[in-house]
């Protein structure tokens, strides 16, 4: 069975009397170790797509199976648990906890799994070493550069060994040189066997991915697999 299976997923928002169809019948399957980009202009529904995939939001209709679990009818607490176990989020604006050090940020998701401090620290240190930040563990987010912050965020996503790495415009706030670094990191993670799904509106970013799903008006417009990733 596919890692992610979306069947007839819809998401409607009511804006006054008007109903906005953010997602209007999505059928998609994503296998383990795929490298997928959702692209599309703003308003195409890709952010909603990300929220649904990340179990932050529940669809209005349709079925969503994640790693064999049906996640449609779960309550907020159960969704929290799914997010903790299955999903590693990487946000455009990094979303680190400002008062916690790099190490503290990476340890945070492990708290919700009731892992003892010593073990947490060990796992977080390893995750930070993986993103080449072993020497920055005691720095606060505001003492780190944008690229370093995003790497802390990636370490935080990796530390729980999730089924999916879900990145929302991961390079949106970065300069072009750091963008290259971060995308290289994603390429490596994919090569190591991680399933990487990202949402972007930049073609250059999408070009790294093996599969590009273009969205338009809440529907899948094009789903294409490309051979290689080249940096233009």
């Amino acid at each position: 069975m596919a890692l992610i299976a979306l069947n007839e997923i819809t998401k409607y928002y009511e804006m006054g009397t008007q109903v906005v169809k953010a997602l209007d019948g999505i059928d998609v399957e994503i296998e383990r170790n795929e490298y997928v980009a959702f692209i599309g202009s703003s308003g195409s529904g890709k952010s909603t797509m990300l929220n649904i995939l990340g179990c932050l939001d529940r669809p209005t209709g349709g079925q969503y199976h994640l790693n064999g679990n049906n996640v449609e009818n779960l309550n907020q607490n159960q969704l929290s648990e799914i997010r903790n176990l299955e999903i590693g989020f990487i946000f455009q604006s990094f979303n680190l906890l400002p008062r916690a050090t790099a190490l503290g940020n990476v340890m945070q998701p492990l708290i919700y799994r009731n892992i003892p401090f010593r073990k947490r620290k060990e796992m977080a240190t390893r995750a930070l070493a993986r993103v080449n930040l072993a020497d920055r563990t005691d720095h606060l987010p505001n003492q780190l550069s944008g690229g370093q912050r995003q790497r802390v965020a990636i370490a935080r996503a990796l530390v729980t060994h999730p089924s999916i790495l879900l990145a929302d415009e991961p390079t949106g706030n970065l300069d072009s040189r750091t963008t290259v670094e971060i995308m290289q990191l994603f390429d490596e993670l994919h090569a190591e066997g991680h399933t990487v799904i990202m949402v972007t509106h930049e073609d250059e970013i999408a070009a790294h991915c093996k599969r590009v799903i273009e969205m338009k008006d809440g529907r899948i417009f094009q789903d294409s697999t490309q051979a290689t990733a080249e940096i233009h």
């Binding site: 929220n51 990340g54 932050l56 939001d57 907020q76 607490n77 929290s80 648990e81 997010r83 903790n84 176990l85 989020f89 946000f91 979303n95 680190l96 906890l97 400002p98 008062r99 945070q108 998701p109 708290i111 919700y112 799994r113 009731n114 892992i115 003892p116 401090f117 935080r156 729980t160």
Partner: protein
């Protein structure tokens, strides 16, 4: 659960520390409330310890019987009295008395003169038994003797305050003082006893009971107090009931009439004092309750601000797997710590205040703070913190992760 609890505590302390000044100002209401209650309690408890020591020195097994005139009777000009006949009756008929003594208070201006000095003191006519009953002993000279009474000798035993007021020498024995126009030779100086509830026990002049009686103008209206101490085996309650029956019969009281005398024990006086302290404590407690309520609302207010400020953080935590109870616990603990911190500062401040007040009022007993009061203050602070933390914590826990993440 345990690890997330520890983590919540750490994070709460971190957050309080990060907003040091704000946390302090927020908790000021609690600080003031707890400080005032602790200050009052430490003073009243100190007072209580002091007073109970004083009562103990009075002799716990002594009784005082005095006449009591209801206010209605007094307005009709009727005065109830205890007479020397009552004294005789008690001496003869009551079991369990170790020693008994009448006390006759001067019924005119209690002027005492020595040379050109004049002072106003409590003049009491009593017998040698007074020293056993009231536990008063002399440091210089001797006490009143039985023979002084039978011969109506004009002698006096004085307290140390009287000696000071009259500029008498350190050893005043054999000096003469003037009481109501008569000369009395001083035969003894009493040991110093201090105050009981503001009444000096050292500002008194003791003269033989019979001497005092002969000096009183109207013999028919003599109203005495009777002090007695009980023998080792006697029960206070038993002696009180004997006394009541005896005196009611002697005074021809009908069963529907109230006693025209009161029997006081040191224990009763202590109880009265305790009752007064109890009322004071309750009143202070009420005021403090209001202060803690206001303090709690302050904490709730700032916690609501804090939740709004940290909406995005809450969103992040929820996105990476925090459940409702994780967020709820974190804010509840933060609010509890904030309030507890106020309680702790208040405890120190209140105790300091109590010590300061006690030290600055002369002859005031040292402040004492019972453990129960400290524990109660801390417990109540924590309770207020949790109570007023519920609303903000619930607000935080119920945030929608998407909205919270999008919050700028």
């Amino acid at each position: 659960m345990l690890f997330s609890l520890l983590e919540s505590c750490r994070s709460a302390l971190l957050s309080i520390y990060a907003h040091g000044l704000r946390s302090f100002l927020t908790t000021l209401g609690i600080v003031i409330g707890v400080a005032s209650v602790i200050a009052v309690i430490s003073i009243t408890q100190g007072l209580r310890v002091f007073v109970s020591q004083q009562f103990a020195s009075l002799g716990t097994n002594s009784l005082t019987v005095r006449s009591y005139t209801p206010i209605e009777d007094r307005m009709q000009g009727i005065n109830r009295r205890l007479t020397p006949e009552d004294l005789d009756l008690i001496e003869r008929r009551i079991d369990g008395i170790a020693s008994i003594t009448p006390i006759l208070f001067a019924n005119r201006a209690s002027q005492v003169k020595y040379g050109s000095q004049t002072s106003y003191s409590q003049i009491m006519g009593t017998t040698y038994a007074f020293q056993d009953v009231a536990q008063f002993y002399t440091t210089q000279g001797r006490f009143l003797a039985d023979s002084d009474n039978s011969t109506r000798r004009r002698i006096a035993v004085i307290g140390d305050t009287v000696r000071e007021n009259l500029n008498l020498p350190e050893n005043p024995v054999n000096e003469f003082i003037e009481l109501g126009g008569e000369w009395f030779r001083i035969v003894g100086l009493l040991e110093t006893k201090g105050d009981i509830m503001g009444f000096s026990q050292d500002d008194r002049v003791l003269v033989p009971y019979a001497t005092m009686q002969s000096l009183q103008g109207n013999q028919a209206r003599t109203d005495i107090q009777i002090q007695l101490s009980l023998s080792e085996t006697a029960e206070v309650e038993d002696v009180i009931s004997q006394l009541t029956t005896l005196l009611r019969n002697a005074h021809d009281l009908n069963s529907n009439e109230d006693d025209d005398f009161v029997i006081e024990t040191a224990e009763q006086m202590m109880d009265t004092f305790d009752a007064i302290l109890g009322v004071v404590t309750v009143v202070i407690g009420g005021i403090v309750g209001i202060s803690l309520l206001v303090g709690g609302i302050g904490i709730m207010n700032i916690m609501l601000v804090s939740v709004t400020e940290r909406t995005r953080e809450i969103g992040i935590c929820k996105a990476i797997g925090a459940k409702r109870h994780h967020i709820l616990l974190q804010f509840l603990i933060e609010s509890m710590f904030l309030s507890l911190l106020g309680g702790l500062i208040g405890l120190g401040l209140g105790f300091g205040l109590g010590v300061l007040i006690a030290n600055n009022i002369p002859s005031f007993p040292p402040a004492a703070i019972p453990v129960w009061a400290a524990a109660l203050a801390m417990g109540f602070s924590a309770f207020v913190g949790i109570l007023f933390g519920i609303l903000p914590a619930a607000k935080a826990a119920n945030l929608d992760p998407i909205d919270a993440l999008r919050y700028e």
